[in-house]
């Protein structure tokens, strides 16, 4: 199946009849809109001429200080000057890659990895190497092996990209020992560690996990975002990077956008100053926890034998492994006909792997819709098992043209 066929199927998923477990949109409806309206109104009345004007390429100073307060929850401490505010952390990811990576440079990523990152690395012609994960995230053993294998070829990785908390798409989280081990390996090998932490404050139990960077700043760039804790539409994220790197990032940012949106930044700054933002994050957490529970309970009740999935402790996603021989990508048309959508695992690998997996998101639909979606999905998997039994299961089922890119296997960001 070609990439554009997948995009065609996701076009159907935007219809309300389809239960979409494919999107990644945060449930911004849970924001207290009255408070947000108050915030924006006050901002424009009191500082409109500043909010609607160009700002600094590095980002608003007051906001950078407030970001320190937010990051304190994941134990990252830094100087406001170490922070570069960007148009979403996606932009920070792009800038870091632009500044650090030359065509042909090796970037190590988890297997699977966030499709937005894969797209950036591809755009800059990096050579992406997937490294295995287990139920605790990136495997240190696999990481060492990957680095050693590269060295044997006379090559060295430039960067390691990791999402340690509530991974997109895998739903797993690195424990603290794991984080220090991974960091030590990266530092020994002279590999820059790019830590992407959009979901860090959206764990469902206990304290937010301490960031990798909280253990040691050396060789680590930390990416943060307000997309899931406040609102994705505001497009405000940031990078924490040492002085030399930061200067280059600011120059690159200025050449890309001149400056991040002052309006969005000051909205967030005003919001953080005057509104109970921690309460809002708590409200989000509870909402997402309820939806996660709806997903996990219904998976447990309804999935055919041979299906397995990860149990996310936060964030938006669970990673499902289909019964042996089934192909999530080939199954998608059948699913869409049955009015349920998911993202095939192939969207999260550069090497064509991932056919036996799918990512299910629980961030957007209400719990009852999630249950209905899983019910439909169970029927689809059973139908596919029947087809597979009829025609025989084999790797020949993975009839890929080889020309599809990961990002063409996933929906656009605004699919629910």
């Amino acid at each position: 199946m070609q990439a554009s066929e997948i995009r065609a199927l996701f076009a159907v998923a935007s219809r309300p009849e389809v239960v979409s477990l494919a999107g990644g949109m945060p449930f911004v409806q849970a924001l207290n809109m009255e408070l947000m309206a108050e915030t924006v109104g006050r901002l424009l009345r009191e500082r409109g001429a500043v909010a609607l004007q160009y700002g600094s390429g590095q980002g608003d100073v007051a906001l950078r200080e407030q970001i320190l307060e937010v990051m304190a929850d994941v134990k990252v401490s830094a100087h406001p000057d170490d922070i570069v505010v960007t148009t979403g952390s996606q932009m920070a990811l792009d800038l870091v890659t632009r500044v650090f990576c030359d065509p042909g440079d090796v970037v190590l990523v988890e297997a699977p990895s966030y499709v937005g990152a894969l797209g950036v690395f591809r755009a800059y012609e990096c050579d992406v190497v997937h490294v295995a994960m287990d139920d605790q995230g990136l495997s240190p053993v696999a990481l060492e092996e990957a680095i050693t294998a590269l060295a044997a070829q006379g090559r060295k990785a430039k960067m390691l990209y990791t999402i340690p908390s509530f991974h997109n798409p895998a739903g797993v989280t690195q424990g603290q020992d794991r984080r220090t081990e991974i960091l030590a390996i990266a530092q020994r090998a002279g590999v820059l560690l790019l830590e992407d932490d959009p979901y860090g404050l959206l764990g469902f139990e206990g304290e937010p996990p301490a960031a990798i960077r909280s253990h040691d700043e050396e060789g680590v760039i930390y990416l943060g975002s307000f997309s899931k804790t406040i609102a994705s539409g505001l497009r405000v994220g940031w990078a924490v990077a040492p002085h030399g790197v930061r200067e280059k990032l600011v120059l690159a940012a200025e050449s890309a956008v001149l400056c991040p949106s002052n309006y969005s930044q000051l909205t967030i700054s005003e919001y953080l100053s005057t509104q109970p933002w921690r309460e809002q994050i708590k409200a989000y957490r509870e909402l997402y926890r309820e939806r996660r529970d709806a997903l996990l309970e219904s998976l447990e009740q309804l999935m055919p034998p041979g299906t397995s999935w990860t149990t996310p402790a936060g964030g938006f996603y669970s990673w499902v492994t289909l019964p042996h021989g089934l192909d999530a990508k080939a199954m998608l048309p059948r699913a869409v006909s049955a009015l349920v959508a998911y993202v095939p695992g192939t969207g999260f690998y550069v090497n064509g792997q991932g056919h036996e997996h799918m990512r299910l998101s629980y961030c957007y639909p209400e719990p009852e819709r999630i249950r209905e979606g899983v019910r439909r999905l169970a029927g689809v998997i059973e139908g596919e098992l029947e087809i597979a039994a009829t025609f025989g299961t084999s790797s020949a089922l993975h009839a890929d043209s080889g020309s599809s890119t990961p990002e063409s296997n996933v929906p656009a960001p605004n699919l629910q």
């Binding site: 076009a11 219809r15 998608l332 059948r334 009829t390 025609f391 084999s394 020949a396």
Partner: protein, 314 residues
């Protein structure tokens, strides 16, 4: 001022194509005439919209089921609304590939040998045996496709026995019945037909040369992946014969207003009928608009003429 309603979208896998067709036709209609042109999706609010706004004419541009299997058209008929395009009954005949092939074969048109089987047959009789039998009967290469579907979704080329099972799985992902058809080597040609007051007319044929092995979904809708030659680079007598086949298909299937017939012209110049589309695509890369353009007609004018015909039908 007249008011027209373009229907597009729907729930089929061709939704995206349909939305693009709808947008293009709506824009063309607005430019061509002095009418109010609205666009609507086919969903729970449609019937209410049709009842309250009573457009002077509906232009359904749904592709795939509901659009092409006649269901929507029957609903429009029951509401007493004029619409452009074939009746539900005829659309159903065209949409079902084996049925269309049978009707054309009876009318003396060459069509590749084929077998259509539901998934259940493979389950009950054993896939290996059935596939072997089909290979013996039809030989390889074969084209496998869903019997009801469009835009080549679920279609694939089978060159070896090993590729056969996965091709079947791909087709059955879109439909309960799959068509396995001999692959004719030759020139792929699409002939659009437009009904006029003087009767149906075959527009200049389009020759299709995809970069890929077959004219699949990607080749159809991604700009730059396929070369088109209008008129097709075939001798004029063969072009005329292609036109005759398309007009015959339009007549035999009882179609109305517009259609597009796809054929493969073999080395001896014989056009082999593949299928007829009662709701041809109208996107930027679609074939019908290219034929119109080659005939010196604008999409907006052509649709307006069909709207007038539909309205006079009552």
């Amino acid at each position: 001022m007249s008011s027209y309603l373009v229907l597009s979208g729907g729930l089929s896998p061709e939704r995206d194509v349909s939305l693009r067709s709808g947008r293009r036709v709506a824009e063309a209609l607005r430019l061509a005439g002095d009418a109010e042109v609205r666009e609507a999706d086919v969903d729970l609010s449609l019937i209410t919209l049709l009842r309250t706004h009573r457009p002077d004419c509906v232009i359904p541009l749904l592709h795939g089921a509901a659009g092409e299997d006649g269901a929507l058209r029957d609903v429009l008929t029951s509401l007493g609304l004029p619409y452009v395009g074939s009746t539900g009954e005829s659309a159903r005949l065209a949409f079902d590939k084996p049925v269309a092939k049978t009707l054309l074969a009876r009318a003396g048109v060459s069509t590749p040998a084929a077998v259509a089987l539901p998934h259940a047959t493979f389950r009950e009789l054993g896939a290996t045996e059935v596939l072997a039998g089909i290979r013996e009967l039809l030989g390889l290469p074969l084209i496998v496709k869903p019997t009801k579907g469009g835009s080549a979704l679920g279609a694939s080329l089978v060159k070896s026995a090993e590729e056969f099972p996965s091709a079947m799985v791909g087709a059955f992902a879109y439909s309960d019945v799959a068509l396995m058809e001999q692959c004719i080597v030759g020139t792929e040609v699409a002939i659009s037909v437009l009904d006029t007051d003087e009767g149906p007319v075959a527009l200049p044929p389009v020759e299709i040369v995809p970069q890929a092995e077959i004219y699949d979904y990607n080749a159809r809708y991604t700009a730059g992946t396929t070369e088109f030659f209008v008129p097709a680079r075939v001798p004029s007598d063969i072009a005329a014969e292609c036109g005759r086949v398309a007009l015959l298909a339009h007549e035999v299937l009882g179609l109305r207003d517009w259609s597009r017939t796809d054929v493969i012209v073999d080395a001896s110049g014989t056009p082999w009928f593949l299928e007829t589309n009662a709701a041809p695509g109208m996107t930027e890369t679609s074939l019908f608009p290219q034929s119109l353009h080659a005939a010196g007609l604008s999409l907006g004018d052509a649709v307006l003429r069909l709207v007038d015909r539909a309205r006079s039908r009552g």
